[in-house]
Symmetry: C2
Subunit: 243 residues, 2 copies
């Protein structure tokens, strides 16, 4: 994540419950967003229940600004997205949350400011607010059951923004204090197992041995082991052969 | 989304509040998941507060099964993922939510059953439960503020599963009842504007005209218009030239 570039602003239009504003702030800060704009909150501002529901997000970085109208709230934006649960009868480009945030990253790199509008609980955005937006985000969800609460809708959009900037490897092996075992370490172990089996007369005929060696090696090369793992295996063998 | 293939099971280990189990069910059904397994819920089961918080998800498709131990809950799984907020000192592959769900889709296509473990509110999964898992999911969030509530963590994983199976175009123009204007329709309009300007003596010298034509055309070709849009523009021009 870079800190110099803008990040999208979240704009709540006519939210009802302070609690939901607080939960939105929490979801935003989870994903590194800090500019929360609230148009005409029904229950007023500041709100004790918002502070409680934010789990500290309102103290630790999220800045709330109150506006009278949606137009005021988006005045400094270059690209504004309206979130809707279903398409409205309006000529407007409709993005998924993922593609909208990919385009948001592009526009931010070009110096633009981006805002994402979310409507009131239950009713969503009015058509007048959607008309102010440059484009629409519709999050693809189960069409038979798609009621997200406000904070969850914000979370998914903010998550898409964050995850697309994230540099975490998609998959990594966490080994703690031990290292990944080299091929030699693994081969040394399988050699020992074969030798111990041989000592105990396992290989009745000598041509059984190459197949067994290959099978055993294949069992171990399929997976990644640490030095600690191989030491554990050695311990098991030592315990098993003790007389 | 296909309906024949398995979908991942969500497994809550020692959740405390019935309300959170209900919110998890809701987040699951939002993303089309229906198999919810609960290990040893502190407040018992069934739960009135779970039903209330589920917004109907427990009636409309999510099936809850209660287990005594995590091992029982994952007995029929081929690949089990443990969600943790931070890496533990344990040798285990760590996936992002996105890469874990991509791999989940692969494994499901190979006939495997996949479960995702979530720990109790606040404390998360015990190391004993993580040791039972095949791999770890760590959702990449703001490292300075990464406390997700249980339902939000489930939502992000379920969303990644759903969005990767989703066939929605990343971007589409919704036009309602009108069609996208063809190039000819647009050119016809810009021709008319030029002609009307010409009639009113705008082009003092004839060599101004090609540049103006090009500029005007470029203003319009940069964007997608509908037939309705172009009619509106024609109406504006007609109104402006009325004497």
């Amino acid at each position: 994540m870079t800190t110099q570039l803008h990040k999208p602003s979240i704009i709540l239009v006519n939210p009802q419950l302070g609690e939901n504003i607080g939960m939105v702030a929490r979801a935003m800060l989870n994903c590194g967003l800090t500019d929360l704009r609230v148009v005409n909150p029904r229950d007023g501002w500041p709100s004790e229940s918002a502070i409680r529901a934010s789990s500290g997000a309102l103290d630790k970085g999220v800045i709330v600004t109150i506006y009278d109208t949606t137009q005021d709230a988006i005045a400094d934006m270059h690209w504004t997205l309206a979130t809707t649960a279903r398409p409205r009868d309006m000529v407007k480009e409709v993005y998924t949350a993922g593609s909208a945030m990919a385009e948001t990253h592009n526009k931010i790199k070009n110096g633009q400011k981006i805002g994402v509008l979310f409507g009131a609980e239950r009713t969503g955005l009015e058509n007048e607010d959607i008309a102010l937006a440059s484009a629409i985000i519709t999050i693809p969800l189960n069409p038979d059951f798609c009621s997200l609460n406000l904070a969850q809708a914000v979370l998914l959009v903010a998550y898409e923004f964050m995850v697309q900037a994230d540099q975490t490897p998609e998959k990594q092996l966490v080994t703690g204090k031990t290292d990944i075992a080299t091929a030699a370490t693994v081969a040394n172990f399988t050699d020992r197992v074969i030798a111990e089996m041989d000592d105990r007369g396992f290989f009745k005929s000598p041509d059984m041995r190459p197949t067994m060696e290959r099978n055993l090696m294949n069992l171990f090369t399929r997976h990644t082991w640490t030095d600690q793992d191989i030491q554990t295996f050695h311990g098991v063998i030592s315990a098993l052969i003790k007389e």
